[in-house]
Symmetry: C2
DNA sequence: CTTGCTCCTCACGTAACGTGAGGTTCTAAG
DNA sequence: CTTAGAACCTCACGTTACGTGAGGAGCAAG
């Protein structure tokens, strides 16, 4: 059988057969003019290659397997399954996240959408898994409505405080005190009083100044609020 | 900020930053001597790129997204989730199979192992999903023990029939008739009387002669058995 | 002898960078 | 002012499993 025929019968492309020949995976005989000739043995070999390929093994590994057939099949499969499991887990998490974003930012603009993803990325970086779980629970407790309110209130609150700061108002001034109180309340609502979460939050805003800036925060403002809280 | 510093602060490799520059994803300014200078805007941009990358989008798509920000975020995410789900499903099936092979061929040699995989591949090709499900159920019904018995009996039975054929025994001979009866029983046990499955089985052995040969079958033997069964 | 089909061997392209090679610029110390 | 070493630059090849021509021969039929 020449390549074309084998290709038609197996559905494998000619190029792929050439490729396998180059890699030494399936090595057909040749006519004097150089045309490849596949016999029974080569077809069997090809089937084996295809079978292993279907299971997701890289070609290089397949070649080694078929070369020295004394490998530990069990161990091999276990390793492979392990690899797959990890990939699957990662992808499932990704999926869950994407859907969470899609669901939550139901009618969000592109800008808001990217923002949301950025926030998620940052959270991943600064919170432990347990903390993220805790936060997810708290969010569920509050419900859509409340969350949206909080999200809309924060920028307003930050803007108000910034205004007072720029105006040079004394942090002890009752107006600032009222804002600071609300500030505390919102943070408490978010952290649920968890000291670890509060710390991670602080690390996040200190460690990612450009992220903080996007939220309207900066170190000076932080300091100002801190004074008012004391 | 020069590349080295940005690289340290973000944990992204210098090469990657160069790469993103080449692709026009993050385009820093340059000093007169050509060194890259990243400012606030570029860092923000980088964060966005990284966020989208983390969600598994290809860089090319990310560039388009960030270029024309009027895209439909919902649609985009849905498409992406769809892609992911398909990948996950495929990988899970793979995993399940690998484990099935590993569990079933618990102490198999490398040869048997490859054989098993080949059989699976062939089954995939010739049976529909429903038929495969049905077969899986039947296998569970029988249990490990019975299956192993069947698997050991088949080669013996095939060998016996082949012997009679080569000896030229009349298909109507009682000895051949007894073998043919057992043959029928085994096939019935396998197909569970499902006509579709029996047909697929026949297609498999007719369509994959080299597979059939590995199992010890060939067209002449088939014909002989057929005569005996009539 | 030529047409048309099949075959051959390069060899580049893909995604997202890693990893040098070889050369320039910056920075701090002598 | 010079010089060593760090940091920067631009190529450019390697990775995986092939796809996709380019350009040139072999092979059967008219």
């Amino acid at each position: 059988m020449k390549v074309g025929e084998l290709a038609k019968r197996t559905g494998i492309s000619i190029r792929t057969l050439h490729h396998y020949d180059e890699l030494g995976l399936v090595s057909p005989h040749r006519t004097v003019s150089g045309h490849r000739l596949y016999g029974r043995d080569e077809v069997v070999r090809l089937q084996q290659v295809l079978s292993l390929r279907q299971l997701g093994f890289p070609l290089e590994e397949i070649r080694e397997l078929l070369a020295r057939r004394d490998f530990d099949a069990q161990q091999l499969v276990r390793n492979h399954v392990e690899r797959l499991r990890r990939q699957i887990a990662a992808q499932q998490e990704l999926c869950a996240r994407l859907e969470a974003v899609a669901a939550h930012y139901h009618s969000a603009s592109a800008e808001e959408f990217i923002q949301a993803i950025e926030v998620m990325t940052m959270f991943d970086k600064y919170y432990t898994k347990e903390q993220l779980d805790t936060l997810a629970q708290r969010r569920e407790m509050f419900g859509e409505e409340k969350l949206r309110e909080f999200q809309e209130e924060w920028p307003r609150l930050i803007a108000s405080v910034r205004e007072e700061m720029q105006r040079g108002t004394d942090p002890k001034d009752p107006k600032v005190q009222a804002l600071a109180k609300r500030w505390m309340e919102l943070i408490e609502a978010f952290t649920g009083g968890d000291a670890g979460i509060r710390e991670s939050l602080q690390n996040l805003y200190q460690g990612e100044p450009q992220f903080a800036a996007q939220q309207g925060m900066d170190p000076r403002l932080s300091e100002y609020v801190q004074k008012a809280l004391d």
